[in-house]
Symmetry: C2
Subunit: 428 residues, 2 copies
């Protein structure tokens, strides 16, 4: 036996071009540490205070004591193995009620290690065999296509917001003897496109999904961060027939280092003997094979943050919302300033104008691939993310994603100036 393994004899997902692209992006980011980076989708750190972690933890433990737990039971809750579905479903349900107007039975909540584990569990539960297919809104968040590849689940992209294409894809797949199971979608400020669905489109999406027998997997990490007031209801809030499996995350509303997410899965599952359970309980069984439990430590700290904010994260995130909104406004203003309408028509340049969130997309008159990205970092000191890896079936070669979440307004101004130089230098 040799210690030398060949990549080709390992699982296929390890030879995936998308993974290579992400690895390359990380490498370039490390090689140019002084570049201004529009690449990472991580939250602004200005609101994090290390000293407060112990306060959050204590607040949660006090909450347990207040509910009548003995000191021994409090210790067990924090230190031991616990219920697979987690220990703060009640607080999550209260927060969803306050922030999203969502009435959720805590029994239908599974607390997960980030929304990523939630995706993995939902995909695993729904896709039983090679004929099962996941439809994904395209361009698509790489986390869900990654989870699908890890599980050898086929994904079929459907252009974002195109319901006719959704119907056509579902019918074509069924015609081929395959079974389209669900559509993955980020209705609010999607990663990577930044776009959102209108209320009318949300209702139409639910109707179309019902007609085609599809569940909808709604992923909502950015819903809070609108540029202007006037939030739209989540798909789950519009869901009258338990069609929607909802993925939530505290990475952007609390902090990523807790790795805390959750799934709301209130669908009923019928066993051969006629007994029914919630899809959440089935996901919990799968979770016992992935991570056993979500760390009680993370649940306790996030639980304490929820309690400290009266289970109202929308209010708690007012400063964060103002920050992201201002940043997005600055980005769009600076793009406009560097490329007035006539100039961008001449160059063949355009961008979308997201109503909130972390991301905007720039259409450029050249190939925005890894080589271009590296050149831009080296020669212009600015980084961005190529869009092509977000298109599972190809496309997006002349698009790039700009993220504004981790920068200051000054950095965005400087970054757009550098980017403008790069675009002009490459616009032929």
């Amino acid at each position: 036996m040799s210690a030398h393994l060949s990549l080709g004899e390992l699982h296929g997902s390890l030879s995936d071009p998308l993974l290579d692209a992400m690895t390359f992006l990380n490498e370039v980011t490390e090689r140019y540490p002084d570049a201004l980076s529009f690449a990472p989708g991580r939250p602004h750190e200005g609101f994090f205070e290390t000293d407060r972690v112990s306060e959050y933890l204590d607040a949660y433990l006090d909450h347990l004591r207040g509910r009548g737990l003995t000191e021994q039971q409090v210790r067990t809750a924090l230190f031991q193995y616990g219920p697979t579905k987690g220990i703060i479903a009640d607080l999550i349900a209260r927060t969803l009620a306050n922030d999203e107007g969502l009435t959720v039975d805590p029994a239908s909540v599974v607390v997960t290690v980030g929304a990523q584990e939630g995706m993995l569990l939902v995909l695993r539960a729904l896709c039983a065999g090679p004929e099962d297919v996941l439809l994904v809104s395209s361009p698509c968040y790489v986390g869900v296509t990654g989870a699908a590849r890890l599980l050898d689940i086929a994904t079929v992209p459907v252009p974002e917001g195109d319901l006719a294409a959704l119907t056509a894809a579902a019918q074509r797949l069924r015609g081929e003897g395959r079974r389209p199971r669900a559509l993955y979608v980020v209705p609010d400020f999607a990663n990577p496109s930044g776009t959102s669905m209108s209320v009318e489109d949300r209702a139409r999406l639910l109707d179309t999904a019902a007609e085609e027998g599809l569940l909808v997997i709604e992923d909502n990490p950015y819903g809070f961060f609108a540029r202007e007031p006037g939030e739209r209801p989540t798909l789950k809030a519009l869901d009258r027939h338990r069609q929607v499996v909802y993925l939530g995350s505290f990475a952007k509303t609390c902090f990523p280092g807790a790795r805390l997410g959750y799934v709301v899965a209130d669908q009923e599952v019928r066993a051969p003997d006629g007994r029914t359970s919630l899809l959440a309980d089935q996901l919990a069984k799968l979770k016992s094979m992935t991570t056993v439990n979500t760390p009680a430590l993370s649940q306790a700290v996030i639980g304490g943050m929820l309690l400290g904010n009266d289970c109202r994260l929308r209010d708690a995130n007012v400063p964060a919302r103002a920050h992201y909104a201002a940043n997005l406004t600055v980005l769009l203003r600076e793009l406009e300033r560097h490329f007035p309408a006539a100039e961008r028509a001449r160059l063949g340049l355009s961008w979308n104008e997201p109503e909130g969130g972390f991301f905007a997309v720039l259409d450029v008159p050249f190939t925005a691939d890894e080589a271009a990205m590296e050149r831009c970092a080296r020669d212009h000191g600015v980084l961005w993310t190529p869009m092509a890896p977000f298109y599972p079936a190809g496309g997006g070669e002349r698009r790039l994603r700009l993220s504004i979440s981790a920068l200051s307004e000054r950095q965005i101004e400087a970054g757009v100036a550098r980017l403008a130089d790069f675009v002009r230098a490459n616009a032929g």
Copy 2:
């Protein structure tokens, strides 16, 4: 679209009898809360102190400051997304050197959400297609067979400690055109059998695995808890050819609520272009599709515990070791007292005498199934775990597992007395 899903249309692992068995065990445990339980493999809680969590966290953050990180960088390390392989590999490597005499390059360590995520990643990396098979020492820990089922990976059981059977299984599989990839084994105080491998057997196992082209996946959650001094080297410590992938866990040596484990994967992986990487780096790519990061919060708290103990968990666990050792001694003594040799010969009863760890196995003269377990809880107020679910290919129907980790000596005395009544009542 109906909200009603049928279990049969979900993934096959959800219809697994093993999962049903575990669910049933949990239900019975909840239904008989006053029963003395030899069932759970969780650690003793007497050593946990909630007040100290903040101390551990502070110790780790101070350590980062001491390494020259600015306050901003410390904040980023705790709150943000971080390196996929984790942030405390250096402390884990120091601990392995101190406690196991293992020299490990921190670059070959991936910090995971418990050893369970480590199993999932290793199995996923090694098993690329339907011809790939995982060999498992039988009776076998349910976590690894569960992870295999989740990934649709075939497992083939090999009787614990039977090297001839290992060779035969590997050769038979290859003869069938299949590819045996690795053997999963717990060499120290295995769950569920409680047995350990001798030093000679460890060396022979590595030789046999090398002959058959198998990697060895060594899972070592209980290695510290010997009843008598005289620890044996881990397989990884004997590994001269990078044959062994090592799974570590802090669940029993620190606490389960952090859900912290790790993989040591120092195997070299060669890409088609000739470039090499460590298997650990490949596992990290897969981890980006399961949980993205292990919570920095958990890593920081366990990191602080390691620092506070000078990276010597063997010393830190002297009280825990004494507790488990005393408990196992009491269990074996009480079994002996209730069933002297002549009596147990008459009844057809026997048990093994593990040298440490949490578990012992009782061979009984009747079927020790779920119905018997429930009867025992109801009529005698004592719980245990049926062994049959630990045998992937059948067997163990007249065996039960006794865990001593979460009980006191008094409880073990009372529990064995109750168990003795149950055995006599069922011995026909």
